[in-house]
């Protein structure tokens, strides 16, 4: 277990270092400094700026300085949002994105599990067919399509939700649902398959034979075993929800990290974009790590290596 954790940590540090290095040199390979697009500056001012941002030093020295700062958790100033450091922007955006992501994930899990278990238990009925058809379509449709149609439907045709913005809870529901919908579909399909698998096993027959109620059999005996594949899907789901929130945050004008990242990319704010990439990598990496550990807890037969 300890060896596993150490190994994973090592890989993560290595990955982050590679991403940092590649991004740094890509960023510096781009001709012109970050302030060139503005009007021409006085030579003295330009020299001052260069000194302030250490552009006058040799590249290797700059790299070393940036790497050391990044290791200490200081990602430097934002190139375009003057007066803000990358850390401040991330500290502002990350909690917003996290709230949205957690809600979306919870929604995906609840809806997906209920739909999947229902259709497994009522296999072959109309409910099963309808639920699985919706799930198959849900997987194919990208979240921005869901969002567009949902806005038209629930904001303008039947006005129950506010269109966009951030602050109150009801502004959070629609984006979280749109973000979670494709993953709810995935969870439904996965949990249906694994539930069917478990239901055909001997211990379920035994549980039924000894006279347990159907609800008790399903919730107490079948469900825990069928959760494993769902747990292993959590890793990709979290990565996908983080990615999807790029689009959803833009559509619903939510000031999360995704919005900042896309804005930084469109504005060519390299330091901010790089900081976001690093934060996202850490997030996805550690989530995958947690999922792997939870997997070994759920199923003692799984060996971590």
């Amino acid at each position: 277990m300890l060896g596993f954790i150490a190994k994973r940590l090592l890989w993560m540090v290595l990955t982050l270092w590679v991403i940092f290095t590649v991004s740094f040199f890509l960023m510096r390979a781009v001709p012109g400094g970050p302030f060139d697009s503005d009007r021409a500056l006085e030579p003295e001012i330009e020299a001052n700026i260069n000194r302030y941002y250490h552009f006058d030093e040799p590249l290797v020295k700059q790299y070393g300085r940036h790497l050391w700062n990044a290791v200490r958790g200081d990602l430097g100033p934002s190139y375009k949002l003057s007066d803000y450091t990358v850390n401040q922007v991330i500290a502002q955006g990350l909690p917003v994105s996290m709230a949205l992501g957690v809600l979306a994930l919870a929604f995906a899990m609840c809806l997906g599990l209920v739909a999947g278990i229902t259709s497994a238990v009522r296999r072959g009925t109309a409910a099963d067919v309808v639920l699985m058809s919706i799930a198959t379509i849900g997987i194919a449709v990208p979240s921005f399509v869901v969002a567009g149609l949902a806005i038209i439907l629930f904001v303008f045709v039947i006005p129950i939700f506010p269109a966009a913005g951030w602050g109150s809870f009801d502004q959070l529901i629609l984006p979280a649902m749109c973000l979670g919908a494709p993953y709810a579909a995935d969870v439904a399909r996965i949990s249906r398959t694994s539930m069917l698998d478990v239901l055909s096993q001997d211990h379920i027959r035994t549980a039924r034979a000894k006279g347990l109620s159907p609800a008790r059999v399903i919730w107490g005996h079948a469900l825990p075993g069928s959760l494993l594949p769902v747990a292993s899907f959590l890793g990709p789901a979290i990565a996908g929800i983080l990615t999807g929130s790029l689009v959803i945050e833009r559509i619903f004008a939510i000031p999360g990290l995704g919005s900042h990242f896309i804005e930084a990319s469109l504005q060519r704010d390299f330091t901010l974009a790089m900081g976001c990439v690093l934060v996202y990598t850490v997030l996805v990496y550690s989530m995958n790590f947690l999922v792997d550990i939870s997997y070994s807890i759920l199923d003692p037969r799984v060996e971590l290596d």
Binding site: W11, T15, I19, S23, L26, M27, A29, V30, P31, G32, T136, I137, I139, A140, V141, P142, F144, V145, A147, G148, L149, I151, I152, V155, F156, V157, A163, G235, A239, L242, T243, L246, V247, R250, I251, F261, I262, A264, S265, L266, R268, F270, A273, M274, C276, V277, Y280, T281, L283, V284, Y285, N288
Partner: protein, 360 residues
Amino acid sequence: MATGQLPPLVKGVSLGQDAWRRLRKSRVAMLCLWTIVAIALLAIFTPLLPLQPPDRKMTRLQYAAPEFSPLWVRFEDDTAGAAKVPDEEDQQLFRDYPELGLISRAMVRIRYRIFGDGSITSICGRDELGRDVLSRVFWGARISLLVGLVAGSVSLVIGVTYGSLAGYIGGAVDNFMMRLVDVLYSIPFMFIVIYILTIINQPEVKAWLEEIGIGRMTVFFFLVGAIEWLTMARVVRGQVISLKTEPFVEAARATGARQGRIIFRHIFPNLVSIVIVYLTLTIPRVMLFEAFLSFLGLGVEPPDVSWGLLANEGIKVITPVRVVWWLIFFPSLALGITLFSLNFLGDRLRDALDPKLASR
């Protein structure tokens, strides 16, 4: 001679034929297959179809709702009054089209020869600049499918090469290569690709790339393709490892076949079916990726159109004042149908090729 005594010849059925037979039993899968074929054909021959030019702006018809009658109209040319200069006729003709290749140009010419300026009405409505949405969805299909095909092929080449190398060499090399794949799985490539696109979008870099003859789109194709090869590599590796120990490979080695011959003659043909399955599952993924990036304004750029870009245009004009639903609905419908068909077909192909499920 009594030839009748010979036992009747049992015709062998290859795995591929068997799978095809099983696939044909599923009506929905066949429907998906024909849908994909139809969409691909329509996309290829879009320049021939009697559609309005995709970039013809008619601002006074801004946001015109879908209409069905009359079904056939002559689209107006708002520059009809201007004097035509003979040698600029070409420019006149292609003014409202994105940059076209030779074949597409020829097809557009044929289209004008046959239909003149007659075209189908805007049955899908018009957008902000009065452009015909139906035509733009068709032209968008060309880019979206092209991305799927090219980026899919890139991922195919990388994945198959990587996976078969790892599987064939085996041992420590295989171990390392697969560990690397595991690590790559947990990297959020979307963000890295967006970062790289940011760099490419820098005007100086763009100019430099064009100087050495690489279009932005080419880089885009390769970037998208270069990140979706992980699953392909894993699957191919597994297949190669199990093939490596098959008796027929052993036999080939025993007869003194060279390494290259074993790989290309005996192992590759057996990979084809599984590769096709994962290709049909990879293509919708890369198309979705493209739609995502174009939606964010980082992918395809005007005057080119793609479904993601069209959906983005639709989302942008959502206002409480008027609901322009057709701008979102039709591109999304096209994207949804295509992705659904590919996904469904891929799933069914995988089932059809799985011998374990054969008894069902």
